[in-house]
Amino acid sequence: MNVHRLTIYGGFFGSLLCVLALVGCDLPPELAEIAQDANSVASQPASTLPASNAVLSASVPAKSPNNILVASFNIQVFGMKKAQDAWIMERLAHICRHFDVIGIQEIRSTDDRVMPELIRYINADGSQYAFVISERLGRTVSKEQYAYVFDTTRIVTHSNASYTVVDDSDLMHRQPYVARFVAQNPRNPFRFTAINVHTDPDVAAIEVDVLAAVFQNVRAFEMSTAKEDDVLLLGDFNASPQQMRKLGALRGFLAAITNQPTNVSENKIFDNVIMDRYATVEYTGRSGVLLMRELFGFSREEARRLSDHNPVWAEFTSWEATAATARAEVVPPTRR
């Protein structure tokens, strides 16, 4: 494994560094093992979800050869207590199967079985998902990990690269976690880099300003190392697009979620998928909040057993698009 450490930001806030782990094979051994392990549990008992919930939500577009669905989901205090609860895990798995890539926040456990358990549940129906996960991040004893869950039949991690933005000046409570992905489309596949974030609510205003620098500098780094201009900043910002200050002032700033609350109480926009409208023309213009209470037909109280956040999502073409083609080729006219 080659590990590169390089300065990507040097401004008022000091330096933000990247540690980049590049693995020179198509599928890292740990991912191959996960995929193998996932297949081995596919024969386990099927989900006990009611039949009416076995179908995917009509509010999220179906997966197709032409699209890629990227989501962000803060699974509140995702630890072994939830991982050992089949009722919760089956529903989390059901949610994840809607999407091709899910950026997950708030994995809070020193037990490394949490994410493998989620993958086991997701793949119990024959799906072939895998995950990559960050180190434990945070200033206090309570730390969190980020993860990306992705459908290996439709997505691979581009160059198998993921890295944590190292914040030597401790500007953020939890440093963002970056990963590269590429769609499995034979026609000039859509490649993108995702930055997974979870701001500290007490200092969200400060951290959102820092994220403006993170976004710009990760993009510059990705452009210089991978010629990649499509960067998605996703996660729990603890801020609405209107509160994103320096981040919101970036040229081309586009928030997928603009006016629909994302928390289960349905009164705040915390979660989002942010992109540069001029660079990421693969965005089809379709996005939304997957309301868990609607998906499963239960109350907000029941939804809170899963999380206090609903997942948010955005749709992209599965191929590198031009502004003129992206929406026209993916979004059916009748649904526009």
């Binding site: 806030f13 000091g14 509140q76 205090v77 630890g79 072994m80 207590k81 809070r108 456990s109 020193t110 200033r139 206090t140 004893v141 309570s142 030597d168 000046s169 401790d170 500007l171 500290d200 609510p201 007490d202 200092v203 205003a205 400060i206 200050r245 809170r304 206090d308």
Partner: protein, 156 residues
């Protein structure tokens, strides 16, 4: 003021994480579960603290005392709650400056104490002099940066 609470179970703490008022009514007990050996209790307590907003003025005195806790997470959250009180915590200014100057406190707590001072605002010239002194002694760039932001009052 709330009585020193008995340990509460994880089901109650989960409810506190969903209900800010409930969390604030159990704040003292939650400061105990914050340092529990049980990871689940600790994590849900942190979550409850993240979500619950400013405490009651009635809790002010014991929260100030909690700044001196040897448990880093307790002192960190004490500083956080004082910051959330904003100008209502002005009486805690000197204790927060002491916290910044206390080299036995962890970096996260000292940084959060500096942030709390910014939120509280209204620093006297004497307070600012003490903070400038803290700047010269502080080895952590992160804490120095937060003190500088507090002195310059540039943090939103």
């Amino acid at each position: 003021m709330h009585e020193q609470g008995a340990m509460i179970d994880v089901a109650m703490i989960e409810k506190c994480a969903q209900d800010p008022d409930l969390a604030l009514s159990h704040l003292r007990s939650l400061f105990e579960t914050l340092v529990s050996e049980d990871e689940t209790l600790r994590e849900w307590t942190s979550e409850a603290f993240e979500n619950c907003g400013p405490p009651s003025d009635d809790d002010f005195d014991w929260i100030v005392d909690m700044l001196r806790s040897r448990e880093g997470d307790q002192s960190f959250w004490a500083a956080t709650f004082l910051g959330r009180l904003e100008e209502r915590a002005r009486k805690a200014t000197s204790k927060l400056i002491e916290t910044i100057l206390n080299v036995n406190q962890g970096e996260a707590t000292r940084q959060r104490a500096a942030w709390a001072l910014h939120r509280i605002g209204g620093l006297s010239e004497a307070d600012k002099d003490h903070l400038k002194l803290a700047m010269t002694r502080e080895e952590s760039a992160a804490v120095r940066k937060m003190i500088a932001l507090t002195l310059n009052e540039t943090v939103p």
